[in-house]
Amino acid sequence: MNRNAAHPVLRVSSLSRNFGGLRALNDVDLDIRAGEIVALIGPNGAGKTTFFNCVTGIYVPTEGDVFACRPGMETPVRLNGMKPFRITELGLARTFQNIRLFPSMTVLENVMIGRHCRTKAGILGAILRDGRTRAEEQDSVDRAYDLLRELNLAEHWKEEARNLPYGAQRRLEIARALATEPFLLLLDEPAAGMNPQETLELKELVLELREKFRLSVLLIEHDMGMVMSLSDRIFVMEYGSRIAAGTPEEIRHNPEVIRAYLGESDNA
């Protein structure tokens, strides 16, 4: 296979998901190429988070395929029906719309949990505390701390996660996801509840992290300013279906999208 025509890091085709009689996702296609930042937008209830949950293994898709491929790997892996932790092991890491940190653990420990799937020590190692176990642990601690520095959280490292300010909790979720060494980072409304200044900083941060960790990013976001200036491409969903896809410029002028966001206006 030709290296230049590498597989997309994520290819989703005809993805559907039913809940009882309700079709929350209907035949959605999406692909992300290496290094791209892709946004998934749409009104509330359009199925964006359901899409995330299907990709990250929290839900099993009813129909369709999800393929992921680490840049440089030859064959993509089919994710359908895989357990969430396997998908994370593979290199897809996510954050949650309503922050899901481990509240009673310290900031550092939260990030160390992200290292879990990249480390090996078992119960025997824990009990014997041999050299290898200790070295591995110290390595986890150091890497976790470095990530905290990267995300401006280093000063909080000893605090319990629940005591962090809101914005810092959002960043901690990103740090924890990065600790799993992903190639694709999925951010579910990372700017929700942030003020314009914080949103701007978050945008800079995402761009910086993409360079530094060679990431591709898929984000769900409602802040149009952020979406338009950050994304390489945008997918728009409504009522569980994809209604548009393209560059920010194309999306801005797409009549379908305008209709979905502003409502029907016949006399326009």
Binding site: F85, R100, M105, L108, I123, G125, I127, E137
Partner: protein, 415 residues
Amino acid sequence: MNVTMRILLRSLMVSAWFVLLTFPVLCVKVAARQHTVTVLWERAVGMFAVMIGCSLLWMWYFHRKEHGAESGSSAVSSALAGFSEKWHGLTSNRVFSSSGMGVLLAVGVLLPLVGSMYQTTIFANAFLYVMLALGLNIAVGIAGQLVLGYAAFYAIGAYAYGLLNQYFGLGFWVCLPLGGLLAALAGLLLGFPVLRLQGDYLAIVTLGFGEIVRLLLNNLRDITGGSQGVASIPRPAFFMELSAEQSMNYMYYLTFAAMLVTIVVVARLKNSRVGLALQALRDDEIASEAMGIDLRTVKLQAFALGSCWAGFAGVLLAARINFISPASFTFMDSAMVLSMVVLGGMGSISGVVVAALVLTLAPEYLRAFSEYRMLLFGALMVLMMIFRPQGLIPSRKRAYSPAGAASGSAEGGRA
């Protein structure tokens, strides 16, 4: 003071309510077929007095909590917090903690030499409960999986030794690992199907399992001896013949050593990669799995290790008391171990050790207290959940030293 008066009045009413409530069962005794009725008025008076005190404390606590006393906690709990801080100060200081361990070790080693046989016996029993409580702490305290039938695994260990010895003549040292292994297998067997259950359902399933084990031990008379149990289980062999007292002391030292090993193992487990994953599981299962933790493996490990420890304790119990029967492994025994974990502090090692020692030794030394033991255990579980859910000595955060961070002592200097 208006508030004080109101509280006093309320407390009187609450006490009257409790006197009325408890009157029939507490103060009236009947022999129905002889038609004799005895009324114990002094109990009603006692109830009233006790309830006045209790209700005042209760209302005072909630009053302070609601009206945001600046510290947000009562004097009792702030005193407790101070105590646990000091405790942590003591134990985190390396010199002190090793000397504390030294004292504990010395006392443990010397006890059979200075104490009576009775004291040796009750301490050996207390150490066994420390083992059990720490084992349960893995599942309940660290991983947040409420296991209610813990006595079943204890029973499996005890019967493993009792029966393997009776039928196949296997000795203690063969049965000790076997008992642990069998209990761990039972833990896995139960763990597999209950993986996806959460919280209270898990609790009930493990409780049901515990009862099934006990009932089977009771009913399979041909194999287990039924409610008669298994008798004349031998003590472990030593290099030479031991007198009754010597073999008692031998068992004491074995149990003591086993307890020390347990403390080290559980403490290390808690502070390991697996232990961290277990704590994450306790906080948020969905997030744990999304962050790359294999819930199945981690939960099963917690189950297996926790039940394995109960198995070891069971073998030690059978060897020490030479006789086992289903009556020693009831739900009340599980509840007792659970109350030790709750009192000490879920996930806390030192807390659970102290709680297990206090709760087993206090009834022995305070005879008056022993009758009310289970009553107090029950009340303690309720009160701890309300007033101090983190336990007497809350679980301590582990100290890490990341390469890039200013070390703990330098931190203050830099500011």
